[in-house]
């Protein structure tokens, strides 16, 4: 190799790099950059799955050793709300996949619409989750050590729900203010960005209000049913039924009685662990429930942040046919969040 050859090769390296504006300097080509990012995100998903695997392990352990607790505890979870949330997440997965497709085809407006739809779904999911959490907290359903089941307290809107909603309200108002400030400053792209964020945070309230309305309807219906059962037991002089009707108002007894009849005697047989013990140990189920769904909710929030970043770049029109990697990668992450929920839903809500 001669001096000129060496110099040429060094020169070549730069000449042949018709680097696109978003191709990092250390990559040779758009394809190499895309492949690296893709493998990177798949490996990240691998770490996520192993991260969650610890919780699935704890879940399986307690379910295999204390099946009766799981049966009893799942009656506190509303499978309609859980199922609705599943469909919300599935729909957000669909819109995310459509956003990736639009980014590939460089359809700027469609990408924005699909991303906003995805973000709204994420927020609706959190809104419904907030209703579920706050309803349980009102009944004293906390993690194991603080598990203190009692009758549903508070009428109207729960203080816990308000507490969770306040940050979202602040963010909603903040984004609306930011949006109109930027519009008056003539920064159209920031206006679009913040108004989209406001729509996203609005999605939270859509979910929360919808969930709350459903919960109120369900509580009213349960009360009706309980009243009907009192009428029914009054007519039959069954000792067990009258005991039930006596405490019909307390959810504990109601649910224990409602669950598989075989479970209750089994728990009572154990001299050391009376019914009180069983109630306390339900707390372990809810420890696991809060860990799993809480960690999942954190991932949803993380996804919302990542989606907001994507949205900003989409508004600036950054995507090219050979550069849409970020949309694809965040999309993969978002589908994984969906994927984990697909397993959490039957494992936590559907136990018989």
């Amino acid at each position: 190799m001669t001096a000129t050859e060496l110099a040429e090769s060094a020169h070549d390296e730069h000449a042949h790099h018709s680097h696109g504006e978003f191709i990092a300097h250390h990559f040779d080509s758009a394809e190499q950059q895309y492949d690296s990012g893709k493998l990177g995100i798949w490996l990240f998903l691998v770490t996520e799955i192993l991260f969650f695997s610890g919780l699935f392990c704890a879940y399986t352990l307690y379910r295999s050793h204390h099946p009766e607790i799981f049966v009893q505890a799942s009656t506190f979870l509303d499978k309609r709300l859980g199922g609705l949330n599943t469909i919300v997440l599935l729909f957000s997965s669909l819109t995310m996949a459509l956003a990736v497709r639009s980014a590939q085809l460089v359809e700027r407006k469609k990408v924005i619409v699909y991303l906003v739809l995805t973000m709204v779904c994420a927020a609706v999911f959190l809104g419904i989750k907030a209703v579920e959490y706050s309803h349980k907290w009102d009944e004293g359903i906390f993690v194991r050590a603080y598990f203190n089941l009692h009758e549903h307290v508070g009428h109207g809107i729960s203080k816990y729900l308000i507490l969770i909603s306040v940050p979202f309200l602040v963010l909603l108002v903040g984004s609306v203010i930011a949006a109109f400030t930027y519009r008056s400053l003539g920064k159209q792209h920031l206006f679009v960005f913040f108004i989209s964020l406001a729509i996203m945070f609005g999605g939270y309230f859509l979910g929360a209000v919808g969930g709350k309305v459903y919960m109120n309807w369900k509580t009213a219906r349960d009360a009706q049913l309980a009243a009907a059962s009192i009428d029914h037991s009054a007519s039959t002089t069954d000792e067990h039924s009258s005991a039930e009707s006596h405490d019909a108002a307390t959810p504990t007894t109601k649910h224990v009685a409602a669950s598989d009849a075989a479970v209750v005697p089994k728990a009572n047989e154990d001299a050391d662990h009376g019914p009180a013990h069983l109630d306390q140990d339900i707390g372990i189920f809810f420890s696991i429930y809060y860990c799993m769904t809480g960690l999942h909710a954190f991932h949803v929030i993380g996804g919302m942040i990542a989606l907001s970043w994507l949205l900003y770049r989409s508004i600036l029109g950054h995507w090219r046919a050979d550069y849409y990697g970020p949309v694809d990668f965040v999309g993969l992450y978002w589908h994984l969040v969906d994927l984990i929920w697909i397993f959490l839903f039957p494992l936590l809500y559907l136990i018989n």
């Binding site: 893709k38 392990c57 589908h335 136990i351």
Partner: protein, 127 residues
């Protein structure tokens, strides 16, 4: 080094999924969700968990294959992703293999340590 890709013009780097396929998958997923909720009320006995898990597995597979483009992805990426399930199974499987062996010791652990005793501030148990 001077390896140039065809990454210009409208030939995108990855596979573009048809909208019709994506929507079909979504409809199937919603159907399966409804099915799993309904199946929960069927008298399946001990098989209910397995029915629910199989449905979840089918749903997860559909999401991974089509929404996550795994069907068209590179073999190595698919291999990497699937290996995570192998290791998670290994972890959970080995751990659960003998937990039954020491459950009695846990049950015998002095329960005098109720939360209200151990952790001041924890609510005392309601009667």
């Amino acid at each position: 080094m001077a390896h140039q890709t065809s990454g210009h013009g409208n030939s995108a780097t990855g596979h573009v999924t048809p909208i019709r396929l994506l929507v079909t998958i979504f409809v199937i997923l919603v159907g399966l969700t409804i099915l799993t909720v309904v199946a929960n009320d069927w008298p399946l006995g001990h098989y209910d968990l397995w029915v629910a898990l199989v449905i979840a597995l089918v749903k997860a597979t559909l999401v991974a294959l089509f929404f996550m483009h795994m069907y068209w992805d590179k073999g190595f990426n698919v291999f990497a992703f699937l290996s995570s399930f192998v290791f998670a199974t290994l972890f959970i499987g080995f751990t659960l293999m003998d937990t039954r062996h020491y459950q009695d010791s846990i049950r015998e652990f002095p329960k005098s340590g109720r939360p209200d005793v151990i952790f001041p501030g924890a609510p005392t148990q309601q009667k």
